[in-house]
């Protein structure tokens, strides 16, 4: 073992690094096709399954192409000792990546930014007043990162919360759109995200038709922004249908 000789030797990945000037997309490409052959406004097939982790109060697994995540929900359980009294429940979110989630082997560390985004996307949907003084923990593990990680985590987390029996106003579905030149592509994969000019992510509660979280990066005209939002909202409601049918199946399976 390497550690026998002190510090482990430095290693590098032998994968050929893609030349920087080989864009997935260029403006002049009139009939450009997406790397995975999808239409611009076509989402990857979504797969959801609840009750993936037996040790948790509720859990869900989601797979969108190469993006694979597991979310476990624990609680409602006792808040940390240091927490002050609160007459509404607390929501605690954490998103972690595995060391092999990204093409280059990472450290498998916490993703603080996504953790706080996940919190903001979910808190509006959960009836926090139904579990006063206690905490619900939502922990996500990204097994493989294949693009649009955060929206997948959000959708998966809301399913896991439903599986745990946490009271919610509605499911939360998340979808993102990338802007590549003049084109808007929905549910981008990693390659598309790495060269996008702008991105828009919406998480929404489809039955209530409410946006729970929205982030935009890059430069957008109002017209483009409207179009992208509408695309996302339509995709969200379709996604929510898949999520709901997954819950129904799980419920009918446990009854019979």
């Amino acid at each position: 073992m390497a550690s026998k000789h002190g510090a482990p030797p430095t290693t590098y990945s032998p994968s050929p690094t893609r030349k920087p000037h080989q864009p997935v997309f260029s403006d002049s490409d009139a009939d450009w096709v997406r790397p995975d052959g999808r239409g611009f406004h076509q989402c990857r097939p979504a797969f959801f399954r609840t009750a993936a982790v037996s040790a948790a109060s509720g859990s869900a697994y989601a797979e969108f192409g190469n993006t694979k995540v597991i979310v476990s929900v624990f609680g409602p359980r006792e808040s940390k000792k240091a927490m002050m009294y609160s007459d509404v429940g607390r929501l605690n979110c954490n998103v972690t990546y595995t060391t092999f989630a990204t093409p280059i082997r990472g450290q498998g560390s916490d993703h603080k930014e996504f953790s706080s985004m996940l919190h903001k996307a979910l808190e509006g949907a959960i009836m926090l007043e139904t579990f006063p003084k206690t905490t619900v923990d939502v922990f996500a593990l990204v097994l493989e990162s294949g693009g649009s990680d955060l929206p997948v985590v959000v959708s998966c987390a809301s399913l896991a919360l439903a599986d745990a029996g946490i009271m919610m106003y509605d499911l939360v579905a998340g979808v993102s759109v990338s802007c590549l030149g003049k084109n808007l592509v929905i549910d981008p994969i990693l390659e598309e995200e790495s060269c996008q000019d702008g991105s828009l992510m919406i998480t929404c509660m489809p039955s209530r038709y409410e946006v729970s979280q929205l982030t935009v990066t890059g430069e957008w005209s109002t017209g483009n922004l409207n179009e992208a939002m509408q695309l996302c909202l339509d995709a969200c409601s379709k996604l929510a249908k898949i999520m709901r049918s997954c819950l129904k199946e799980a419920a009918s399976a446990s009854h019979s």
């Binding site: 690094t17 920087p20 603080k112 930014e113 706080s116 903001k120 808190e123 509006g124 949907a125 802007c179 995200e193 790495s194 060269c195 996008q196 000019d197 702008g198 991105s199 929404c204 509660m205 209530r208 038709y209 409410e210 946006v211 729970s212 979280q213 929205l214 982030t215 935009v216 990066t217 890059g218 430069e219 957008w220 005209s221 109002t222 922004l225 409207n226 939002m229 909202l233």
Partner: protein, 285 residues
């Protein structure tokens, strides 16, 4: 957290409904903005912004670095926010840390544009000295000195002011170096290059209280919010970034309405801030 009595809460809500807020402002009125530039001599550029009792400082430090292998034709920008416990006891420890990351993420999202660099307020390719070898790294540090709401807008304005105050020394490249060698450089201490900040967007935060939205909310007003949308808008009227805070969901049509209101307000704000910045620069000279 602000402790407000029911009466005070009702007063704030009622005032906003009737378009006259506790401090006499209308819903779409900012507090007076005071700009002071060049407040930190060691930095390449700095500015202090005061809006009512909210006060922030931003400083920009430029250092020579190496561009990343993936983007050899671009410089690098890093944004850090520090919420001093001096400003608010709540900022001590973890509370401040969380807010700091939230604010710096929002600022990065609003100022740095998409992954490809399109729509960035700061033109990263202008930071390159020798392609693939030398570039400027900009470290933007901001400090919240005193907090009375609307930190994000104040930070955005302070960064814009600090960037327009930046003088980056001219770098002369001595001879072409072949292959992997680093070329020799000579940093001038007389000639400074100004930075074009016309494309740097401003951030307008609309805070929704009850059915109405207000700009430049104070801490008391923020405690009553349902949700807030921060929109960053550049001079062309394009949206450069957007983040949402607060738990309550928003109807998509309201989001769009908020964006158009923010755009409208930003036009006046950009002009006002520009004149304040040039006045501050004139003062400094």
């Amino acid at each position: 957290m602000v402790g407000l009595s029911d009466g005070e809460k009702r007063f704030i809500h009622g005032g906003i409904d009737q378009n006259i807020r506790s401090d006499g402002r209308k819903r779409d009125a900012y507090r007076p903005i005071f700009v002071e530039t060049g407040v930190i001599p060691q930095a390449n550029g700095s500015a202090r912004i005061r809006m009512g009792a909210t006060e922030v400082i931003a400083s920009v430090k430029a250092e020579l670095g190496k561009p990343s292998a993936l983007q050899p034709d671009k410089g690098k920008v890093a944004i850090f926010v520090d919420c001093s416990p001096v400003a608010e006891p709540m900022f001590e420890g973890r509370g401040g840390e969380e807010l700091s990351t939230e604010l710096s993420t929002a600022l990065e999202c609003c100022l740095l544009g998409g992954k490809s660099g399109a729509g960035a307020g700061i033109d990263l390719s202008s930071l390159v000295v020798v392609q693939g070898k030398i570039c400027w790294d900009l470290y933007i540090d901001s400090l919240v000195i005193s907090s009375d709401g609307n930190l994000l807008d104040a930070l955005g304005a302070a960064i814009k002011a600090a960037l327009s105050n930046v003088g980056v020394p001219r770098v002369n490249v001595a001879g072409g170096a072949a292959g992997d060698e680093q070329p020799e450089i000579d940093i001038s201490d007389e000639e400074f290059l100004q930075f074009d900040t016309s494309a740097v967007p401003l951030i307008v935060t609309l805070t929704k209280v009850g059915k109405n939205y207000i700009v430049d909310a104070t801490t008391e007003e923020e405690s009553q919010m349902n949700s807030a949308v921060s929109v960053s808008v550049n001079r062309k009227g394009h949206i450069c970034g957007l983040t949402k805070r607060g738990g309550a969901g928003l109807d998509p049509s309201i989001v769009l309405d908020m964006i158009s209101v923010a755009k409208h307000i930003s036009e006046q704000l950009i002009n006002k801030l520009d004149s304040e910045i040039s006045a501050a620069e004139a003062d400094e000279d």
